[in-house]
Symmetry: C2
Subunit: 506 residues, 2 copies
Amino acid sequence: MLEQRIRHTDLRARVVTAEEAQEWIHDGMTVAVSGFTKSGDAKAVLQALAKRVRQSGEQLKINLYSGASLGETDAILNAQHVVSCRLPYQSDPLLRKSINQGEVQYMDQHLSQTAEFLRSGYLGDVDLAIIEATAITDDGGIIPTTSVGNSPVFVHQAKRVIVEINLNTPIEFEGLHDIYLPAERPNRMPIPITHVADRIGTTYIPCDPEKIVGIVLSTCSDTPSNIVPADRDTQRMADFILDFFHHEVRYGRLPRNLAPLQSGVGSVSNAVLSGLATSSFGNLEIYTEVMQDAVFELFDSGKVAFASASSFTLSKDMTQHVNSSLSRYRDQLVLRPQEISNHPEVVRRLGVIAMNTALELDIYGNVNSTHVSGTYMMNGIGGSGDFARNAGLTIFVTKSTAKDGRISSVVPFVSHVDHTEHDVDVLVTERGIADLRGLTPRERAKTVIENLAHPSYKDELLSYVKRATSSGGHTPHILDEAFAWHTRFKETGDMREAEPIAKAII
Amino acid sequence: MLEQRIRHTDLRARVVTAEEAQEWIHDGMTVAVSGFTKSGDAKAVLQALAKRVRQSGEQLKINLYSGASLGETDAILNAQHVVSCRLPYQSDPLLRKSINQGEVQYMDQHLSQTAEFLRSGYLGDVDLAIIEATAITDDGGIIPTTSVGNSPVFVHQAKRVIVEINLNTPIEFEGLHDIYLPAERPNRMPIPITHVADRIGTTYIPCDPEKIVGIVLSTCSDTPSNIVPADRDTQRMADFILDFFHHEVRYGRLPRNLAPLQSGVGSVSNAVLSGLATSSFGNLEIYTEVMQDAVFELFDSGKVAFASASSFTLSKDMTQHVNSSLSRYRDQLVLRPQEISNHPEVVRRLGVIAMNTALELDIYGNVNSTHVSGTYMMNGIGGSGDFARNAGLTIFVTKSTAKDGRISSVVPFVSHVDHTEHDVDVLVTERGIADLRGLTPRERAKTVIENLAHPSYKDELLSYVKRATSSGGHTPHILDEAFAWHTRFKETGDMREAEPIAKAII
């Protein structure tokens, strides 16, 4: 067993417990760990560290860099106030709270760019990398588990590496990964991916065995994803998108197998992919960050030719299904470093169709993906910017209202801009779809309000645009009213004007 | 003479006057023309069209697509109300006025992306392309003049082509250009540029001779650029940037020849490049959109190894100098299509240092490049987004105030976002420089206010941040005050609070 999991003979002597390994983590260190959207994250050592801090009560703070969100480990560390600085993405409610209180220094980054920032030097050194692995090859190469994320660049940059071999990961995961690290500039070459299925690297993360200071054997499971099943609104949004795809095929702007699909994490994206299973589209390709359950449903329906991502983020049932039938899927999928799964170079070349969730959108097509009321961080921009700017077709979805109608997701001016009007092609709510391509701002405002806004907010939006436009301008605004709805919500708990019932709640 | 300029024998019979050629332009047509930042633009036929419309009084409207701004032709057409829709960039004061009045439908696009939008089909057909040329090769290839811009994709997409051979362009321009068009998806390959000097295409724009319906011989000159000489503030900003480069070299984050430089049009960028001429940096490379006068000054100082751009945009004197000594420069420069000069793939691979001008910036590092008071279009985003998102180092510059101090360029919340906090590394005003890399929003606010804001506005900015932060949040804002300065300016003509002298002016 151990021979299969640690093939480098000398390294077998470096097996330690998680409790021993966590002793190597000291106050002030930068620790870079595997993990992307709750998958393949380092768990045992960090959780042992949290336990030590809880028990000892000592003051210990680390900078924690990852691929994207960790599973429950983010919450466990946060509870012990262990994290000083966190990047580039998170999605844990308590960690989010610490970030918004200013206790955790959070750097929200485009997920393809963290590797570049590390190389450029201003994020400092990586003292220690902790990487979850399926196995270690006979020359020290690290075979990842359910995600690749930033692990290759972390291993490359780290002074020392701890490997957490997850004994629950089927050994058949070997061969799923394709590890490629762009060279340092000025010697960088084109990324030679021209088709979704292209393999351009190694099946393991190359690592000098001398760097591996310890190996922990773990049986922790990934925190399962909890995809909410599509409700009526979500299904309507998915249907609008599928209709739109048919429309584009009819006009010759998309081929019958569409273009490589990227879909953000969430129930709408999942519903769109599920909807494709019963559609007339076939031979589909997926070039995305995260494979959710629906991707495997699509495989099972025979609709997908190939899928590329940086992680599996699956429900408990789907994890069991995939792990037990990996041989059926293995020739049709690949897991890549997030720098490659999200690389603008590849996204633009392939002409990806990017589908991501907006928190808020405005009448001119700007999108807020991250900040509630322009102030409070939700999760982070993730890969949405990597894809949106360079995709062949960029779609953002959101329900037209939130909080039982008290918040309109369609506003005069978004309270934070993550995606500018230049980067958004199509917007979708449960009310309809707005194709903004080739429209001027004034035209965009018209179609956004007519097609996307909830009836409770339409008149006020129309009034805003009409009054703003009366003073002219390419993108007419009345700045002293632009955030009036946000202010009203702050004061009354309702963005709607004179809505007696909602006001009564306050 | 004509033999040298029109080498395709049959095409010599297609020489017509500009007056004859303009007859081919009809109401409702989409006309796509050469021209990038006032250089190499189609002039004779469009000006003849304007003359016809002025004389006949007829109602004629066209969609006018270009590389970027045209020279005086944009103003001449606008005076006759000939343009219905204009893209992707402009900089003419009167055209700007028509856009802001809603008379001209303007689409402000990332300059690398117009070619993609044309290919994707939703911008409609190109009825006619008009391309200024140095000469036509013996198989119909079009050799551009002082810019390449979007001409290759226009020629490829157009149903018919008119060539304006500019007899004033030295025939030695042949060989300066490198024409490469990415293939349609899904057959697109990597753009094989790994060094600034790489040549990857042809020296002419391939064109089926049958498409060329007419050739006009012209002697119109490019509208010369009018670079304002660096004033004290501009020079200070340039000095801050040069000091910063030295700092980065000292810390090993930049090599001694820096990285390929992109600089937007304008006096600060020009001053930075001029400053390099007397610096200790050498063997520099330039990978930019536009070569301004300073690039040739750098050549003359022996500091530049190679420069790549999509156009020359030169003063009258420098044009004469360059035209008369082209042989000295020709092995050290190349003019590319704007899709390539600005392509995110190449910008990211090379790790370009991008320097562009901001109209307005906010305490968290968001940048407005386009809209005065969030409403009135200035010029357009140009290539700033192509570069900023993917550059190795992204710098924006602006004076800390405008209108004699009545406008602060550093505001709580920019009134339009073209570049998000995720895409901005370094900000510069005449007051100082703020390195935002690796900082959280709260840290960014501190350094932006301390280093960049004008003293007249510092206290109010500090007060804003302090009060906003008291309610927590990752990016603390008080939305009902966020645009208070813009509103104050609208009402009193001054963003400053209680400034008696300034108020007296109103």
